[in-house]
Amino acid sequence: MRAFTYQRASSAAEAAKVVYNNREAKFLAGGTNLIDLMKIEVETPTHLVDVNGLGLDEIAPTEEGGLRIGALVTNTACAADERVRRDYGVLTRAIVAGASGQLRNKATTGGNLLQRTRCPYFYDTNQACNKRKPGSGCAAIGGASRQLGIIGVSDKCIATYPGDMAVALRVLDAVVETVKPDGTTRAIPIAEFHRLWGDTPEIETALEPGEFITAVVLPKPLGGKHLYHKVRDRRSYAFALVSVAAVIQPDGTGRVAIGGIAPKPWRVESADAALPDVAAAARALTAGASPTEENKFKIALVERTLAGVMAEARS
């Protein structure tokens, strides 16, 4: 691991300013992904700004009838919150489908949104990776790609966004609140938060340099059945091959978002409109897919996982 200096932030705006002024600096929250990547020198910050003392660890009601989840609320605290369990079950289900109990106790809401892809070529510093080292190429294309993306990918990068929590946030149309280095704030819809790789896979989110996440806001509850199905190579503590987050109303209409297939949680308006027709919704969700030989099974898996979700919604 490279040596780094360390400071505790005194405010969110100050943290943003420090990281903006030092491009080798990074925010440190739970650290469960960052420290792992620092050990293998995929991440090599020379300065860390520890934001754990900033508060931002509460869940509070909003005037609009929703919930504001502080960026430093742990995954466990968010999943276990009574209001989240009651009104946003898809979020609880998604969070507890990911990682292990120990990791969820440490990982934060803001950090979870910013976790890096688990593409094996991103992790292996001996391999070409446009995300880790722009311009070096993509060893995943033509390589072992079973876990990787089938849609929204580019000829520069076929990695996926690996998380579960954000897939539920996409179905809920959550909003990410931030503070910029100049102290101004903004609200970014989750749909626009993660970006497609295009020619710049090293840029993963809409955040500007130094911009710091302060909270995630959930709109007022949608009602309906909240479901999260995750298909993976082992039953617990593994990343998704395909996951489906869904909020389904009694008449079978609703919203779905797919994880494990794209650079971002994948939601398509025409797929929501097609529900409860599983085949039509799955066609809309996978339209334009460009899978590899190794991961083309994910197209059928999207439809089958969605069918499972709709069957449970009816039961």
Partner: protein
């Protein structure tokens, strides 16, 4: 060298001494590098481990795991993968289990840490330690300190109503079923495969509390 004098002659002491002599032969190289580079950043860190205060001066890169093992000399907590995948390093920080390998010690200023050494002693076992012995919840023992710290915390998480992936009713009371134990312990790997006995040990402790 002084760091290692706390150990009596033991297998561990011999291994540690071996490491020191290897390091000693490479001292000139280390010095040459040190002269060419700025000093490694160090920070003061205070930890309360198993009820005892420790004031340390640490390289910022020191993980909580390495602080416990290499500086405080509590070697019960084990380093397995060092990447948060195996759970051997699980300790309880301010009442919550975490992977101590994925946290820098400096992030834990003033925190209360409980390791396997703080749960019980050979003469006065924690109920979970006693249950692991009774049910053969281990074979080689390497993952056991992490398993036990995790198991103690799992029962506490169930009591507090933290749901899991196999919880049917998110709003109902959480139950310490065998499937719940297995799902909640998935972050602790046991190469010997003592899983079913670990779940039985946990069930016994959960039953006693209920």
């Amino acid at each position: 060298m002084a760091d290692f004098e706390a150990f009596k002659v033991s297998r561990r002491g011999v291994l540690a001494g071996g490491t020191v002599s290897v390091a000693a032969t490479s001292v000139p190289v280390v010095r040459a590098r040190a002269a060419a580079q700025p000093a490694t950043p160090t920070v003061p860190v205070s930890l309360k481990v198993n009820g005892k205060e420790h004031k340390l001066m640490l390289d910022t890169r020191t993980t909580l795991l390495d602080a416990l093992r290499e500086h405080i000399k509590l070697t019960g907590t084990k380093k397995g993968c060092d990447h948060g995948q195996c759970g051997a390093c699980t300790v309880i920080v301010n009442g919550t289990r975490i992977n101590s390998c994925l946290s820098f010690a400096v992030m834990h200023e003033g925190d209360e840490v409980t390791t396997i050494e703080g749960l019980g002693t050979p003469d006065n076992l924690h109920p979970m330690q006693a249950a692991f012995v009774k049910h053969d919840g281990y074979q080689c023992g390497y993952c056991t300190p992490g398993q036990i710290c995790s198991a103690v915390s799992v029962l506490e998480e169930i009591r507090k109503g933290v749901p899991s992936h196999v919880t049917d009713d998110l709003e109902g009371p959480m139950k310490p079923t065998n499937m719940e134990m297995r799902e909640r312990m998935s972050g602790n790997i046991c190469r010997c495969g003592a899983y079913s006995n670990i779940a039985e040990a946990m069930a016994e402790v959960a039953g006693e509390k209920a």
